[in-house]
């Protein structure tokens, strides 16, 4: 980790999110430093996924502020948040099932493509140049994640672990500044988990991408994360380095003590 004072990339302040009578998040505040891997942990239903949904504009909290790049962010729709350089993957895979791997990855480039309908109709000149240029970038990402062999396979027919990887590829294709990963290793075997951990570290180190990661496997979290936020029943339980969190009595009582 670097020694300089860390720059705060994102900060959520006093977030309150309710669904009717259900309180999903209650007065939670934390920040994400530029360049770090930030883990969000907590038992089932703690509000972790809801927190990511708040960050990328899918849920709008009743109270609270979101600060991004030093500015208070107005209420935004998901497609607007995407434009600010935030990408994510989903707990329940959300790939485009009718499309192939390469097509799915290409969707990550949509925002960076802009040739109008007339060029698109001709698929000539600027339109095809744009398509080729972005296709090259996507092929690099596909190489990086070692999914070349399934490039032309419809994603619906892929095994679970590979689908998770394609989803990561799609998010990386957006070249985000902040990457939100919702349980990227859920349901994977040990080997697949190792691969995925390696990719996450490489993305963080080589591209300098800031990552917020939800994960249940404590070994993975302790290994990957620079800092950890612990949520429980929608409340912030602890916030600190993996070591600090691990030795926090409240966390041990609420979460770590219970075998999963």
């Amino acid at each position: 980790m670097n020694e300089k004072a860390p720059k705060i990339m994102m900060e959520v302040k006093n977030i309150n999110l309710r669904f009717g009578g259900v309180v999903a998040i209650q007065g939670v505040s934390f920040d994400i430093h530029e360049g770090e891997i930030r883990a969000i942990i907590g038992p089932n239903g703690a509000g972790k996924s809801s927190m990511l949904n708040v960050i990328n504009g899918f849920y709008h909290p009743q109270e609270g502020e979101i600060w991004f790049d030093g500015q208070k962010r107005p209420s935004m729709e998901p497609y607007e948040v995407a434009k600010t350089g935030i990408a994510r993957t989903f707990q329940n895979i959300a790939l485009f099932k009718g499309m192939t791997t390469i097509e799915n990855v290409m969707t990550g480039r949509q925002l960076q493509m802009n040739k109008n309908i007339f060029w698109q109709m001709l698929r000539y000149g600027p339109a095809i140049e744009e398509e080729v240029q972005h296709r090259k970038r996507c092929e690099e990402i596909i190489d990086f994640l070692e999914i070349n062999h399934i490039r032309k396979t419809p994603v619906g027919s892929l095994p679970y672990g590979l689908q998770k990887r394609v989803e990561l590829a799609r998010a990386l294709a957006m070249e985000p500044n902040l990457l939100l990963l919702d349980e990227p290793m859920a349901g994977m075997n040990v080997e697949e988990k190792q691969d995925m951990s390696r990719f996450i570290v490489e993305v963080n180190e080589e591209f300098g991408t800031t990552i917020a990661l939800i994960e249940h496997d404590m070994a993975v979290v302790m290994d990957l994360a620079d800092r950890v936020v612990v949520l429980d029943y929608g409340k912030l339980l602890a916030d600190g380095t993996p070591k600090e969190v691990q030795s926090n009595q409240a966390v041990i009582d609420a979460y770590l003590g219970v075998p999963h």
């Binding site: 729709e77 995407a82 309908i117 698929r123 744009e130 398509e131 080729v132």
Partner: protein, 362 residues
């Protein structure tokens, strides 16, 4: 091993992104070109009366393919269901009629494009509910469009220039000195015009589908929430699909009346036609251009042939054959959908896959 993908490596992405990357496909397209441009216009279809082959099979088939392409863009690629296709085709037809009667000197191609654009605008207006509702509720909304528009085609006499008959009819009209439409136009002229239109529109559609805009439609179709989180605006994606689709359907409607039927009333655009086009898309295969061709040809040609054979070979009454062919078509649709829910396009794909291995089936 007639048909293989392996062994034809594409070293440049540009080559791979071409419309027909395979050599075998290029040959197939070449053969189709010779057939449709030379052989069929000269000799017609084997075993059929020439006029019948051109007027009852070739021209309507090509027009219905454009119609099916249009609906498939909306339903198969963008996942938005519509039962208003018949009415949207009517918008194109009435718009074309108004353009050529208000501006008698207008170029036919320009009138056709403008009619498509009018239909696109109407499509967008009636597509607005899709931003809020999905599935069954959207069907009901498009159904309302269907009934409202057919009502307007009857009640707004301005649309058919206050004709006593209530019908729109193609006047003789030239382009480059050749009579293109109207009672004096030659079947051959109209055939070539429709053929070229079909080729151009197919090419444009396949380009759009493989590019940025086509992907945005498929994203909305497959998972609208994820699409939005990647930066797709549902408003833009859905309404552009309604616009593009209605553009095609409007052009097909204008072609149907002025390059095939010669005259039409509101009932040529009724709900039964909407269902007919829906059958064509589903039988052919959702989200497939080849499927649009197959579906339109199958659903149109099979009943026509059954009727013809029944009349001329077995001497059955036309009315009896009409019902019989409807029943038979219905049965075939059900059988195809049970055998292959993804339509004729998928059956064709499977056949190609088998050909790839032939004659070594391992």
């Amino acid at each position: 091993m007639f048909y293989k993908e392996t062994g034809q490596f594409k070293s440049r992405y540009k080559d791979e992104l071409a419309a027909f990357p395979l050599f075998e496909d290029k040959i197939g397209i070449g053969i189709l070109g010779v057939l449709t441009f030379l052989v069929i216009p000269l000799f017609g279809l084997p075993g059929l009366n020439y006029e019948f082959a051109m007027g009852a099979i070739m021209i309507p088939c090509m027009i219905f393919i454009i119609m099916t392409l249009g609906l498939n863009i909306l339903l198969g690629f963008a996942g938005q269901i519509s039962l208003g296709t018949g009415a949207f085709s009517g918008v194109g037809a009435y718009a074309f009629y108004k353009f050529i009667t208000i501006f008698p000197d207008i170029n036919i191609i320009i009138a056709l494009v403008l009619s498509g654009l009018v239909s696109a605008v109407v499509g967008v207006i009636f597509g607005l509910p899709s931003l809020k509702i999905k599935g069954f509720y959207l069907i009901v909304a498009t159904l309302a469009a269907q009934f409202f528009l057919t009502w307007a085609f009857i009640r707004v006499a301005w649309l058919y220039n206050y004709n006593a008959s209530g019908a729109i009819e193609g006047p003789n009209k030239e382009m480059f000195g050749i009579i293109m439409i109207g009672p004096q136009s030659a079947g051959m002229t109209r055939y070539y015009f429709v053929l070229v239109t079909l080729i151009v529109l197919t090419w444009l559609a396949s380009n759009v589908i493989r590019g940025r805009i086509g992907r945005s439609w498929m994203m909305i179709r497959d998972m609208d929430i994820a699409a939005e989180l990647i930066g797709i605006r549902p408003l833009v994606a859905k309404l552009s699909a309604f616009a593009f689709s209605s553009f095609y359907i409007g052009i097909a409607g204008a072609l149907m009346v002025f390059f095939w039927l010669g005259a039409a009333e509101a009932e040529s655009f009724d709900i039964n036609h909407s269902f007919l086009y829906l059958f064509m898309v589903i039988i052919g295969g959702l989200g497939s251009i080849t499927g649009s061709y197959m579906g339109a040809i199958f659903v149109w040609v099979v009943p026509v042939l059954i009727k013809e054979v029944g009349k001329s070979v077995f001497g059955f009454d036309a009315f009896v054959m009409e019902n019989f062919s409807t029943i038979l078509l219905g049965a075939m649709i059900i059988i195809i959908l049970i055998l292959e829910p993804h339509g004729l396009a998928r059956l064709w794909q499977i056949t190609k896959q088998k050909l790839r291995l032939w004659p070594f089936p391992y």
